[in-house]
């Protein structure tokens, strides 16, 4: 069983490109549809918990599924399975990368690739902004965050903590008002 867990998550880690969110449907296909280790409803709960916690979402999901199935041994096995392909592939790429990065043709290629990275991130911002129902306050917070990060030395950690605590106070009061 442990070996099976490892192989499944290793496969997911090795064959999904495009970051953690791209891995979720593949994990679902493997463990819900094929292996039936977790049912659909529980899987949705696991996704919600993983999204609401810090860290890479695919790693969080694999740890939680591992716990569910085989306790701490399962959690460690699934986590290793998920990160090992990344780790090994990057290690291979990194050894070559630092040798060839200063090659004139490669470095010209990267001059074209850097603007593409901007396009990829900007596209993610566009899609995320479109999906979330942004009212004027939320939009203002998002823009203020961008300006603070770009133009000051204030750490993103403080912004997350302040926004989170403020939201807890705000929604708590709002909910209590709604009850009375």
């Amino acid at each position: 069983m442990l070996l099976d867990l490892f192989k499944t998550f290793f496969k997911v880690g090795a064959f999904t490109i495009g970051g953690g969110y791209a891995m979720i449907p593949i994990i679902q296909e493997e463990i819900v549809d094929k292996k039936k280790w977790v049912n659909e409803e529980d899987f949705m709960d696991i996704i919600a918990i993983s999204q609401g916690s810090p860290g890479p979402i695919a790693v969080n999901v694999s740890i939680f599924v591992g716990y569910r199935l085989m306790g701490i041994k399962g959690a460690l096995t699934c986590m290793l399975g998920t990160i090992l392909p990344s780790f090994l592939i990057i290690l291979l790429v990194a050894t070559v990368f630092f040798q060839f990065r200063n090659n004139p043709i490669i470095s010209k290629g990267f001059m074209g690739i850097r603007p593409a990275v901007v396009a990829l991130i900007a596209s993610a911002v566009y899609k995320m902004a479109k999906k979330s129902d942004l009212n004027s306050i939320k939009l203002l917070i998002a823009i203020a965050t961008t300006l603070i990060i770009v133009f000051t030395n204030i750490s993103p950690i403080y912004l997350i903590i302040v926004a989170g605590l403020f939201a807890i106070l705000y929604y708590n009061r709002k909910d209590k008002k709604g009850e009375s």
Partner: protein, 173 residues
């Protein structure tokens, strides 16, 4: 040795405060590895990010392994990768053992709702700061805008986009 300890602490912090996926983590990662420790320069950071998008797996893991290798070789990559997933492991363990309490409490829901606009802003700031280094001339801006259009509206995937941009770079520069 001190570098490995610094790597561990840095990536533990990055893992603990990365909400909202790989891109949202970039400003903190940049602050720590470039502004604080000067382990590499901006352009190198962006190139590593580009490679991390083209290889399988979560971007946070790819970046941690890559940057760890850059700073401390194979030992560095092991330390950084372990450190970046350790907070996940600790937090998921806690949630697993106290899952009912967590679910009953609306506080985590409030917290997450509150930080969502901040996460959006963090990702936008990552785009801005990469642009400040990537937009070296008008040609770069044109490549970027054209690719933004195809990625956003024509469903162009990351790998072909990066390959096309690389070829364009070789041709125009």
């Amino acid at each position: 040795m001190t570098n490995l300890i610094k790597l561990f602490l840095s990536f533990f912090k990055i893992g603990a405060f990365s909400f909202g996926g790989g891109y949202a983590m970039l400003p903190l990662m940049k602050e720590i590895v470039i502004d604080q420790h000067h382990w590499l320069v901006n352009s190198e950071f962006i190139d590593i990010l580009a490679v991390s998008e083209m290889t399988p797996g979560p971007i946070a893991i790819n970046m941690a392994t890559f940057l760890g290798y850059r700073v401390g070789g194979i030992a560095g990559s092991i330390v950084a990768t372990t450190a970046v997933v350790l907070p996940s492991f600790i937090i998921m363990s806690l949630i697993f053992h106290f899952v009912n309490k967590f679910k009953d409490s609306p506080l985590s829901d409030y917290f997450f709702r509150g930080i969502r606009p901040v996460v959006l802003g963090l990702i936008a700031s990552a785009a801005v700061s990469v642009a400040m280094d990537a937009y070296i001339d008008i040609k770069a801006v044109i490549i970027s805008i054209a690719l933004f259009y195809f990625i956003t509206f024509k469903n162009l995937k990351a790998i072909p986009a990066i390959i096309i941009a690389g070829i364009a770079g070789v041709i125009v520069y």
